[in-house]
């Protein structure tokens, strides 16, 4: 039974991550376009419906799946095939220890954990797994038997090993404050008070961790392993079809996992600012009504705003009706929700297990909102900052971030000792 539940949870989390990836790719393209003052992808369509470029991601998936998979003759075949698998595997299994909410307690049943495994070594597991991510990149670079790929692999190995040090040291302060490596303990210690979250208590650690995370995920401004202007495409230059896509997906999965970790460590995980879980549980009926009304109003307002963008003969084809595709159902569901509320609003009472489930749903929602914000932050940074030079990168890692992280530990330990 336990194994079945764990397997189901694993599958569900993997499924969610895999499905956020195409969405993030869409967000990346649209975000880049808006930052650079263009419109972004808006050509691909199904029967004329373009969904603001979202169809492009679907097209990409189909294209990458059906493209010919070329394995060049000069590569080291076993490692060439293994490398993308390692990259994807390592990027997703970190999710196993992320707590998505407080354990759900219904009646006298054993608490149901909203995470796959609540490990005692929690965060160390995250570091252990993410330190393996470098193998995918390195073996890909070496197996491709190509100068550019090899250089990309070497760069990434040096970069990841050196940034891992400051990343690991930056969170020692959090361990000192929480007194535990368990991620659920760290979240609980931060509590619902916004000013007790680690972003306020450990700001230095947060910035070091953030910078190191960018280096770990090989994103700009630290994307030297695949610096296009110098190394063509770096470690994945010889890859094609789905093997290339696996590297691409691994990068975005890494972003999602990284955002989860930032949200957990520094932004209170599933805690809602200033609203404690006990209060929600006590006033579950009220919260449900507020959410119900809010959702209805949001749908009506959002739907009508979309409908206002409808203008006849703007483009002169099916694109005219695009705002209506989402606008009209939005308005209708909104009115439906509000109407149902007017009729049944005062007659609905939650069953005994209601408050716990509602609380869990709200916590998961809040956590996912935080995660999506940081996913967007990654994209925002990528299209705003220029790339570092390699010696600057190493200097920043070893000569600035490492001493800062050490100083942070000293100060935190001193404060913890005094208190």
């Amino acid at each position: 039974m336990d194994y079945t539940v764990a397997a189901l949870k694993t599958f569900l989390i993997f499924f969610v991550v895999i499905n956020i990836v195409p969405l993030l790719i869409w967000l990346e393209r649209k975000g880049a376009a808006y930052i650079q003052d263009r419109r972004g992808p808006n050509r691909a369509a199904i029967f004329g419906v373009r969904l603001g470029g979202l169809i492009h991601s679907l097209n990409d998936v189909v294209k990458l799946l059906f493209k010919e998979d070329i394995i060049p003759s000069h590569v080291n075949k076993p490692l060439f095939i293994l490398a993308p698998m390692i990259a994807m595997f390592v990027a997703t299994i970190t999710m196993a220890v992320i707590p998505f909410g407080d354990p759900v307690v219904i009646g006298s049943h054993a608490p149901f954990l909203l995470q796959v495994a609540d490990l005692n070594v929690g965060l160390l597991y995250v570091f252990a797994v993410s330190s393996l991510g470098v193998y995918g990149v390195m073996l890909a670079g070496w197996a491709a038997n190509n100068k550019y790929a090899l250089l990309g692999g070497l760069r990434s190995a040096a970069q990841m090993v050196s940034y891992e040090v400051s990343m690991g040291l930056s969170v020692v302060g959090i361990f000192l404050m929480a007194g535990s490596l368990r991620l659920s303990d760290i979240v609980n210690q931060q509590g619902a008070n916004l000013f007790h979250w680690n972003i306020f208590l450990q700001p230095v650690a947060f910035f070091i961790f953030l910078a190191a995370l960018f280096a770990e995920t090989n994103r700009l401004p630290f994307d030297l392993p695949e610096g296009e202007s110098e190394l063509v495409a770096g470690f994945h230059v010889e890859y094609s079809s789905m093997k290339f896509a696996l590297f691409f997906m691994a990068e975005y999965a890494h972003i999602i996992v990284g955002s989860c970790i930032i949200a957990t460590l520094f932004f209170g995980g599933w805690n809602i600012p200033f609203v404690s879980s006990e209060w929600i549980k006590m006033n579950a009926d009220l919260v449900l009504k507020i959410l119900w009304m809010g959702l209805g109003l949001f749908s009506v307002v959002g739907g009508s705003l979309l409908c206002r963008r409808f203008k006849k003969q703007r483009y002169g084809d099916l694109r005219d009706f695009e705002p209506l595709v989402f606008g009209v159902p939005g308005v209708l569901t909104g009115f439906g929700l509000l109407g149902l509320f007017a009729i049944f609003g005062n007659k609905v009472f939650l069953p005994e297990w209601g408050p716990s489930v509602l609380l869990a749903a709200i916590q998961i929602g809040v956590f996912l909102a935080k995660v999506l914000f940081f996913c967007f932050f990654f994209i925002w940074v990528r299209w705003t900052l220029p790339r570092f030079r390699y010696d600057q990168l190493m200097k920043l890692g070893w000569k600035i971030m490492l001493p800062l992280a050490l100083a942070n530990i000293l100060v935190t330990a001193w404060v913890a000792l005094v208190n």
Binding site: V121, L124, V129, S131, V134
Partner: protein, 164 residues
């Protein structure tokens, strides 16, 4: 269940260790060694030593072997330079002698009755108990180890820099 996992991963450790020794290509040797470390981590987990298991992966697989592969990649070994390994008489002799000594040693140890150890608490392998031991009972060996590592770092810096 426990014995199945033990024999599966113990066997995996032995097989991958053998593969690591017998591969011609040093990169493959390194990759098999990483798999071997994983098998060892599972064995540590079965002994309830979570902290050591994670450190095994974090340090050995995640840091040390990465540096090994890094160096191998920089060495740029060509296929022609990797001669096929030929069994030599001296090798067989040395290996046989080593196995003989190991068997003798094992027999000698097994002859004595194993002293009964006190039962450890269930959380002895977690982070806090291990940390407590390191900073109280084994503080001096721990600090001496760090001095040893420092010496190694200073030595490598001196050798790496031609002119200080």
């Amino acid at each position: 269940m426990e014995s199945i996992i033990f024999y599966a991963f113990g066997g995996l450790a032995v097989v991958t260790a053998l593969l690591m020794v017998t591969r011609q290509n040093p990169i493959f040797s390194a990759v098999w060694l990483v798999v071997c470390f994983f098998a060892f981590a599972v064995l540590f987990l079965m002994l309830n030593a979570q902290f050591i298991a994670v450190l095994q992966i974090l340090l050995y697989a995640g840091a040390i072997m990465v540096l090994f592969i890094f160096v191998i990649m920089l060495l740029n070994v060509r296929e022609e330079e990797l001669k096929p390994k030929v069994l030599q008489f001296s090798g067989i002799l040395g290996g046989g002698a080593a196995i003989y000594l190991i068997i003798l040693f094992a027999l000698g140890v097994l002859k004595e009755k194993v002293a009964s150890f006190p039962i450890l608490p269930a959380d002895f392998g977690y982070v806090a108990p291990v940390g407590k031991l390191l900073f109280t009972k084994y503080l001096i060996p721990f600090e001496l180890t760090s001095v040893l590592l420092l010496v190694a770092i200073v030595g490598s810096v001196v050798m790496g820099k031609r002119k200080l």
